[in-house]
Symmetry: C2
Subunit: 320 residues, 2 copies
Amino acid sequence: MGTQPMTAPLVSWHDTDTKRTILRFVASVIDESSPHYVSPAERIAVFDNDGTLWCEKPMYIQLDFILRKLAAQAESDPSLRSRQPWQAAWEKDFTWLGGAITKHYQGDDSVLQVLLGGILALSEGQAVEQVEADAKVFVENERHPTLGLTYRDCIDQPMLELLGYLEANGFINYIVSGGGRDFMRGFAHDLYGIPRERVIGSTVAYRYVEGDGGGAIVQRADLDVVNDGPDKAVQIWNMIGRRPIMAAGNSNGDLPMLAFAGGPSAPALRLLVLHDDAPREFAYIAGAEGVISAAQTHGWTIISMQRDFRQVFAFQGPSA
Amino acid sequence: MGTQPMTAPLVSWHDTDTKRTILRFVASVIDESSPHYVSPAERIAVFDNDGTLWCEKPMYIQLDFILRKLAAQAESDPSLRSRQPWQAAWEKDFTWLGGAITKHYQGDDSVLQVLLGGILALSEGQAVEQVEADAKVFVENERHPTLGLTYRDCIDQPMLELLGYLEANGFINYIVSGGGRDFMRGFAHDLYGIPRERVIGSTVAYRYVEGDGGGAIVQRADLDVVNDGPDKAVQIWNMIGRRPIMAAGNSNGDLPMLAFAGGPSAPALRLLVLHDDAPREFAYIAGAEGVISAAQTHGWTIISMQRDFRQVFAFQGPSA
């Protein structure tokens, strides 16, 4: 990820109020003579990943990664083919799978729990380094089902430029995602320039296994952190111990993180990515109704992909 | 914390094998032409706190902090004075209290559990900022019971110089302590130059409380992480995601962290602080038998306070 030349920041953004709001905010917090000046150590910016930094439709990219692993298990063991979630993975039943996520954001976790059971079973005994290596190979080689892009190119180019622009202005960028932390650590630095210690996500529990060569950290089949909703604010405090001054998200699960930014005494910029661009990406509000309403109520900055993004992806491929 | 001039690093260390081993290790990992060269991002150094960076006898400094809070509760509520751990706090029964820790390191947590019950009750509903502010006032003002020093001066000066020397050589220092994370965040930067996001410790669970001004992070009366033993390695992976190349500790609870350093492919320096200096600090091996034995077996570097430290504290006060 390169930083932007100061003469033309955010070139993939149209010259709209949204871009001007971002530029004005950054200018005010780095100006030592401004009442809104923030020291570099406190210039914490947190970004959701799925739907904020990269595409999350027709399903989470990590879900494709997991489904391929589940399908491979069903390939080896036919008895799994009539048991969820292996059945859906084996049959590529995206309706069942998409429903798990939509229902989650509507407050019903029953299908998600079944899916989670399969994910946890996959985790047991996996060395963390192997999970990361698999994730890296996956995003660099597998393709999005409709956009005609490899997954690594499904990044919102304007958001990538925003990360670079912030870094060039002394901000410290973190990913704060509901996605798997070990999965994201496999590529976060390559794709976003964000180092592994600044990747905050959901995670299974670990065990430390003694052994020659320093032992190993191995995943267990137990959830440790589900990094969504209020737990995003909690994990930010656990991992950083500072309140962000910029937060970007796109779904109801990002609402507490956006509200948490700034706090009583510091300035804050809260960015909500609105997926309203069916021709170039996707258009949907399911799972984002609450955060859109909150953004309107509180005057948070809404990023319209259609109106504010000059381009969405760096390498826009043909639609399938 | 100042960094050391390169011409005279580690001035509070005697010119022994221990100091030479440290200097040689640092020189080899920062030398790009060395086969042991380590890039700055990977120069992770982890330090236990109690007994490694500052004094832990006659009891953990944080325990004094907690006991004063428990005693204050017993002051207000006489019914607590016949109930542990309030009774021990109220009566200043250090035998009962010290036994909790000694038994813990011998594998018996029964008394520690009773103490923990009191600590958890103290935590319920506490805003994290208040805990930090109280900790800062405490270490800056209260005095060690026998050393004649305020707690903030109970830091091992040679270890403070080591932190500065490492930082000057591109290392990234972390505290990885069994002590309370919120307690340590109150003073870690002032005392050690270690920023709050690099303080890894034990912690109670939090809740995010919505509200005006961005809401608040509040402690709950549930343990989240007990950062000791194998969990130190697990928490290092959770928080950093990199294997340290230097680790320093002093008790059995540091053994897995020391073993975890370096790993199969990277160099590592493992430092064990041996408390063998009754005249200037304390002499004890209880709770360190296993790690001393491991250090001898594996050839880890043992720091003898008596032999290797020119001075222990920057402001050595009169003994009480």
